[in-house]
């Protein structure tokens, strides 16, 4: 084996890598929040009394969950402009990630909501709470606490999946890696190091999310 490893191009291009990391975290965080909010809305639709609304929510969730994220990105970035909806690469990336995340979040949230015993909702009503308060205190907070671990792993997956938006030239870590690769041809070193960077990012994200979970959901359970 005659290949000489050379990691120095990575040092030369560290500002690009750092900017890529920041951008990856930024679009992922926006998509996480938007995805969770949309996911909760979808869950509400799914449990609404109206059958067409329920059907709409289920169709959307299953369509998103059973098609590749890459095709969704292409659909939004290349397909939607035909309908007059034009986005730049980063906007399309954030939109695709949020919509994708919302379907998975909805599926997870539903599991949590179903886990709340009916008697608790009835008890809340008997205590005179309104529908909004019942949802807020009796359904969603315990439900979110119950599903928080699954949500966290979904968020980590979302962050890893954000690498696909490099395919439409949205600037983030993978895009930076490809750019450096094109200039230096040090593919082995670059993709190994960027892989490690993603590994570090996903570990940090897990730790931060777990810390947030401890802070918010540590009220006594029994």
């Amino acid at each position: 084996m005659s290949y000489q490893f050379d990691f120095s191009p990575l040092l030369t291009y560290w500002p690009e890598l750092a900017a890529g990391i920041v951008q990856t975290l930024r679009i992922s965080c926006i998509a996480m929040v938007a995805g969770l909010v949309l996911g909760i809305a979808l869950t509400a639709l799914r449990m609404s009394p109206s059958r067409p609304l329920r059907w709409l929510a289920v169709s959307y969730i299953e369509l998103v969950r059973n098609t590749p994220f890459l095709v969704q990105i292409f659909f939004i970035f290349f397909g939607l402009p035909a309908l007059g909806l034009r986005f730049d690469a980063t906007q399309a990336a954030v939109l695709a990630m949020s919509l994708n995340c919302s379907a998975y979040a909805a599926e997870i949230v539903r599991g949590g909501v179903q886990a709340v015993p009916k008697g608790q909702v009835e008890a809340g009503r008997a205590l005179g709470l309104g529908t909004a308060d019942i949802y807020r205190f009796i359904v969603f907070r315990p439900a979110i606490r119950a599903i928080y671990p699954s949500l966290c792993s979904q968020f980590v997956l979302l962050m890893l999946n954000s690498s696909l938006v490099a395919a439409i030239s949205a600037e983030e870590l993978t895009y930076a890696a490809q750019m450096i690769d094109n200039r230096t041809f040090r593919s082995f070193e670059i993709f190994a190091v960027v892989g490690l960077l993603y590994l570090a990012l996903s570990q940090c994200l897990s730790l931060v999310l777990a810390a947030i979970g401890r802070a918010y959901f540590s009220y006594p359970s029994k």
Binding site: M1, P68, L160, T174, F188, S202
Partner: protein
Amino acid sequence: MIREFGFPELLFVLEGARWTILLSALAFVCGGALGLAVALARTARSRELRWGATVYIQIFQGTPLLIQLFFVFFGLPLLGLQLNVWLAVTIGLALHASGYLGEIWRGGIQAVPAGQVEAARALGLGYRSVMIDVVLPQALRISLPATVGFLVNLVKGTALAALLGLTEATRAGQLMSNITFEPLRVYSAVGLVYFAICLPLTLWSARLERRLLRRG
């Protein structure tokens, strides 16, 4: 000349879907074999094996599939490993699958009651026989819903091969979109093709899970 997105173009996408299915199957079989080894290492008595398997799983679950594929396709040839795109994508997807399947089956193996292993060992069975005759059949049944669920992810993951230039369903869609200038229709069609492949698997996985829950 600009072509319209008609039947021949749809046929081209469907032909691409054939490679999507073949690629998924190849990656699942190779990744499954490797994943079984990972699961066994993860539950082995040796601390080193367990530790090695944990690191392996962390690496493949903690990095993007796209970077894994880029590493295999662009990175390894620099070390003198000449890989064509099919081989590279299959290796990349199989490694990815082995990380996830290893973790899923680890859960299955550990869910088999410890008393089963103890009883089998008390009857004088060796490790091989304990695993093959007692633990793995039960573990497989427990982890079947999650395994099928991961298969859906694997099928969707093969779409990334398009970015390396392998003409499966998504790349076929890109090509058709380039000659017809009708990306909306083309990518809707591509999406529906994947939907048609994945939905039955998703439904099957959900049914298996319900059945498992009912049996307790």
